[in-house]
């Protein structure tokens, strides 16, 4: 029998499979290695961001700064690689250090100043985007040969799909996150925080350390996403990835994680990302939607997924027998 905590996860997976089959039924050419490869490549940076977002949301927080952090990372890398002769790997290290520190600072403010995460990270969002502007308003191309090397790593599948390095990075991040969340003390502390900060504290969870680590993780993963994005576009641009935080949140929530914290799975987020990617692919394949219908249809599809999940979950729990297995022995 299904265990209830995993139910939303299964629902998301079922929804994705169902939706993909419907898409193929309408556009047979959607069943191709290209589409699958594109789903992974195009959503790599979003997926990595969403992993960090899952961590934050599991603790009952939120991180609105990720989109700006990605943009900042891109611009920073582009400017550094343009103006200095630093090797990209070193630059990656630098930018990760900056974004992790930035995230940790947000976490520290959330914890020590007792300010709501929504607002702290909103200010962080303005700040990082602003810093990106200050570095460069122009979009700056990246022309380092090391980038070419990284970009030329891909596996061309039969059917023309290119499975690129960045898709692989995303998968690794997901797997790593799963291990951390489910098999480490830190992971359990994340869930504990989401179940109630006060309670977690009384149970001996190190609140300060966990909160700071969580936002540092989110910041760092946004930094990694920024690196991936810069590989994806070979450029840094201060106006890029506006609103990505909302996409990430939507993916996390579609993946079955509760915004109130404490319940959810990284794997769900993965399918949430795929579902969002599928919606966009579908719209491109359709190709008849005007600008405004595009928005309306995305909204409607989002709504449909949420409702489908609710209905599936409701139908499954209604059929479930009440849990009578347990009883007191006397």
């Amino acid at each position: 029998m299904m265990k209830s905590p995993r139910l939303p996860l299964y629902m998301t997976m079922a929804t994705f499979v169902l939706a993909y089959m419907l898409c193929i039924w309408e556009f047979p050419s959607m069943f191709s290695s290209r589409v699958v490869a594109n789903l992974l490549t195009d959503n790599a940076f979003l997926g990595i961001t969403a992993v960090g977002m899952t961590f934050v949301i599991l603790t009952g927080g939120i991180d609105l700064s990720v989109g700006s952090v990605i943009a900042f990372t891109g611009v920073f890398l582009a400017v550094i690689l343009r103006d200095t002769s630093i090797h990209p790997l070193v630059a990656f290290g630098m930018v990760l250090a900056i974004t992790i520190a930035f995230g940790a600072a947000e976490g520290a403010i959330v914890h020590y100043l007792e300010m709501p995460a929504f607002i702290v990270t909103l200010a962080g969002m303005f700040l990082m985007r602003g810093l990106a502007y200050v570095l460069s308003t122009d979009s700056v191309p990246i022309t380092h040969e090391f980038y070419d090397v990284l970009q030329s790593i891909y596996w061309k599948a039969p059917g023309g799909g290119r499975f690129r390095l960045i898709g692989g990075v995303m998968l690794l991040v997901f797997i790593g996150a799963m291990i951390v969340l489910h098999r480490t003390k830190f992971g359990k502390n994340v869930y504990a925080l989401g179940g109630g900060v006060q309670t977690a504290q009384l149970m001996g969870v190190p609140i300060a350390r966990t909160t700071i680590l969580i936002y540092a993780t989110s910041g760092g993963l946004a930094g990694l996403a920024g690196i991936v994005y810069s590989l994806y576009t070979s450029a840094g641009y201060s106006l890029s990835t506006v609103g990505v935080e909302l996409d990430a949140i939507a993916a996390v929530v579609i993946g079955g994680t509760l915004l109130s914290g404490g319940t959810g799975f990284v794997a769900g987020t993965f399918f949430g990302i795929l579902i969002m990617g599928l919606i966009q692919t579908y719209i491109v394949f359709d190709g008849t939607l005007s600008s405004w219908w595009t928005k309306i249809v995305i909204g409607v599809l989002l709504f449909t997924f949420i409702m489908l999940q609710k209905v599936l979950a409701w139908a499954t729990t209604a059929r479930r027998k009440p849990a009578t297995e347990f009883a007191m022995r006397s």
Binding site: F126, G130, Q198, Q201, L302
Partner: protein
């Protein structure tokens, strides 16, 4: 009662004062007000006038946030309402009809959100995300992606007109904010809303109809957003569904938080949120008047907000409290209430 309100909004008043002082420093003519062309003319008037959309949004948003919810769709609802108003007047309907139609559209949007949240139990942020994405599309559908320009003087008056020299939007937000505050505080609504925001289960078991209240709260927000949408459209004599209210939901939420309201629901003060809206507008004013290149806009805004929130944060407020009242030594500090969230759980 009066004293309590004053104490509640004191931090906001002080911050507003400081930001306005900052305005005065970057632009010494900030306080000058002239009467020309039948209207009062000055930066202070601008702050009051330009603060209207965010103030209107913040009024409704305060209530939604008090119920532990959030409404991301207000910007999109503004776009819809502006588009509806514009299309009614361009189709020959009078300004009043246009206003009614826009408000009806706002109420429709609000009830959609409310039903999703209250009946289908979708998390507010996601429920309203749907309309945030789709709503702007609906607005553009109505205007077909153009800026729908109109010339109806009645409608334009709502955004760009003046009454007794003061811009009309100032009246609109002051009256709206006052009215809702009055209704909420003179009836039991305020307490009931706070109650469901703090503990919905308990409230339901105590006999409160949380469903109806939730829907009502989203209705009010939709209404306020529609009003804001009409004001914004009337101001530029055109419905710009692409840009009207874009990202303004964030400013509205910010205003509510600067107003000292907890995003975790419960106790709220609309007046404080309105002050929050004025603070945000004053910050924008500093940025515009400072003459700095626009690249720095966001950095300045972020830094000012961080400073404001820092001053307001419970930890710093507490330190100030301790500093002023040095007896008893460590008075109300408890390790337990580290996070805002923690305050929600009982400690006994």
């Amino acid at each position: 009662m009066m004293g309590g309100t004053l104490r509640r909004i004191a931090p906001q008043l002080i911050i507003l004062g400081v930001v306005i002082l900052l305005n005065f420093i970057v632009f010494p003519g900030f306080f000058s007000i002239e009467f020309q062309n039948g209207r009062l003319f000055g930066n202070i008037i601008d702050v009051l006038n330009r603060g209207a959309p965010v103030a209107l949004l913040a009024t409704g948003m305060t209530l939604v946030i008090a119920t532990k919810g959030i409404d991301l769709s207000v910007g999109a609802v503004m776009a819809i309402a502006g588009a509806v108003a514009a299309s009614v007047v361009t189709a020959g309907g009078g300004w009043f009809l246009a206003l009614l139609a826009a408000l009806a559209a706002g109420l429709a949007c609000g009830s959609w959100n409310g039903i999703l949240v209250a009946v289908f139990r979708v998390q507010p942020i996601v429920a309203t995300l749907v309309l945030m994405v789709a709503g702007r599309g609906i607005g553009q559908l109505i205007t077909e992606g153009k800026i729908m320009t109109f010339n109806d003087p009645g409608l334009i008056h709502l955004g760009a007109g003046t009454i007794l020299g003061l811009p009309t939007p100032v009246y609109i937000w002051v009256i709206m904010g006052g009215l809702i505050t009055y209704v909420v505080r003179r009836t039991a609504l305020g307490m009931l809303i706070e109650s469901i925001g703090i503990n919905e289960t308990s409230s339901r078991l105590a006999g409160i109809n949380s469903r109806v209240l939730l829907v009502a709260v989203y209705l009010v927000t939709g209404f306020c957003a529609a009003l804001a949408g009409v004001v914004v459209a009337a101001d530029i004599k055109g419905a710009d569904a692409n840009n009207a209210g874009l990202w303004m939901e964030l400013d509205a939420i910010l205003a509510v938080v600067i107003g000292g309201n907890s995003l975790l629901g419960g106790r709220f003060s609309i007046i404080a949120s309105l002050l929050g809206a004025l603070i945000i507008q004053s910050v924008n004013s500093v940025i515009l008047l400072s003459g700095m290149p626009p690249e720095f806009n966001l950095v300045i805004k972020a830094l000012l907000i961080i400073v404001i929130l820092f001053i307001q944060s419970p930890a710093v407020q507490h330190a100030i409290y301790l500093f002023r009242a040095s007896t008893p030594p460590h008075a109300p500090n408890e390790n337990g209430a580290k996070n805002n969230q923690t305050a929600k759980e009982s400690l006994s």
